[in-house]
Point group: none
Chain length 253, copies 2
DNA sequence: CTTGACCTTTACGCAACGTAAAGGTCTATC
DNA sequence: GATAGACCTTTACGTTGCGTAAAGGTCAAG
């Protein structure tokens, strides 16, 4: 069976222009040219075109496709593996972008000015939730809690940079707590700066901020001895002072 | 603080050309032009550039960025949501592609245990490889593409005979599809013969057979319009019928 | 006053085609 | 056998977001 450009085009789902272009760059030349200069494609070309379209579907560039099908010394498997790695990188980038867009939208809707890093954290939490909702039980049954928890940790795992920034901020807070504590006044500028920084610190791991939650946490610092111990380690009475500063900051005291 | 193009470029991590381009298309114009015609950017422009770069990172086109930042009536949240949907589609496509590449690679690998003829071809192949590397272009010039293409087919693991047999089998499959389709039953003997022949046909090009890969390909026949067109050309609904027959054949339906 | 680092505009190049435009060819019908 | 309409040809500009010369003006320092 022989075909003219547009016949072949219609058959294969590409445009005539595409076939002419492939001819032009030497990727797929017609089997012969008839007396009127028409391109005539035969069975061989049809098959080759299918191969070409297969690779094109895989987002291989025409240049690389040319190499794959024209040069016997070229290793198609290796080429595909390279390409595979590129695709994975591309998807990783895309995932990151999608996450950012999503959090950007939700922060736009919430009308809050969000920390870039906070946006990331928020998305991860939601991811974990969705993941758990959809596959949690199944995976838990199949692979055990260990696996699920590990994956959650991973999802939750912030970027190295975020983690470092958060840790650093946590240290700053302790230093600031010591300085503010000597003022003895939860309303002092230092104490209020402390409270603000504490909120900022929280935002690394919280997806949604509510005054009540912040206040509740502050109370917990005093009520729960584990927290108390953590802040009192730096300054005796530190937990209590921090709570008071936060309550003032929130306009609750 | 004021900056010339390249100062701002260095500060923001883009190229000077990029800034000139943004000026050209009206996306970001310098605050003023000095007496020598130099572009001078102020703080306002720096901030705007940062906004622009933020959106650019999210793969928003410059045209859309322009809309977002220039038109007060334009709803950025809606715009981002549209964009978000596009991104998700893009990722879905990418996932499909990656999956296909994976199965293709694994089917390409898997050793050369398949066809005896292919093993033989393996020897010749190495010969051809060395030959091509040294004399490839010369041969192409002297004997034409025909010769080289013939050897390519060998590289792909097929002898001329295999190639013809495969083509013939491919045609048989189309005929059989038509016949089987009229039974209307993917479980019918004819349909199952069809599926078996399809597997046989696959084995010409696959080095390793896996049910999952076969099933995946069957799904692709329906999902990918090019394949669908190919099989539907013979019988309307042919691709779908073939897929069902294969799934039954594989015990997956 | 020259040198070299900066700035300017103009313009071609990239990937993979889409889309005219201007013109030749085939086929069917009057 | 003329003519319309469908199909083919080549040429060439447009698309996106710049990179990369090329040809030339400007500025600060030695």
């Amino acid at each position: 069976m022989e075909y003219t450009v547009n016949k072949l085009a219609q058959m294969s789902g590409v445009s005539g222009r595409t076939l002419r272009y492939y001819d032009q760059i030497g990727l797929l030349k017609p089997g012969r040219i008839n007396s009127s200069g028409y391109r005539i494609y035969g069975q061989k070309e049809v098959d080759l075109l299918q191969q070409i379209l297969f690779y094109r579907e895989l987002e291989v560039s025409l240049e690389d496709i040319m190499k794959i099908i024209n040069q016997p010394s070229f290793n198609p498997t290796l080429a595909l593996k390279d390409h595979y790695n590129e695709l994975k990188k591309k998807r990783a980038r895309l995932d990151k972008i999608i996450a950012t867009v999503e959090t950007t939208i939700s922060s736009m809707e919430g009308g809050r000015t969000m920390h870039d890093k906070e946006k990331f954290a928020g998305f991860k939490e939601r991811l974990i939730d969705e993941n758990e909702q959809n596959y949690g039980n199944e995976i838990r049954e199949k692979y055990g809690d260990e696996t699920v928890d590990a994956s959650n940790r991973k999802l939750r795992g912030m970027s190295q940079g975020d983690y470092e920034a958060m840790t650093k901020l946590g240290e700053e807070i302790l230093v600031l707590l010591k300085k503010a504590y000597v003022t003895g006044d939860p309303k002092s500028d230092l104490a209020q700066e402390l409270a603000a920084k504490h909120k900022e610190w929280l935002m690394y791991s919280w997806t949604k901020y509510a005054k009540e939650a912040h206040a509740g946490l502050a109370e917990m610092y005093v009520a729960d001895e584990r927290f108390t111990a953590y802040y009192d380690k730096k300054v005796k009475g530190g937990a209590e002072f921090l709570r008071d500063a936060i309550l003032v900051y929130l306009g609750m005291k």
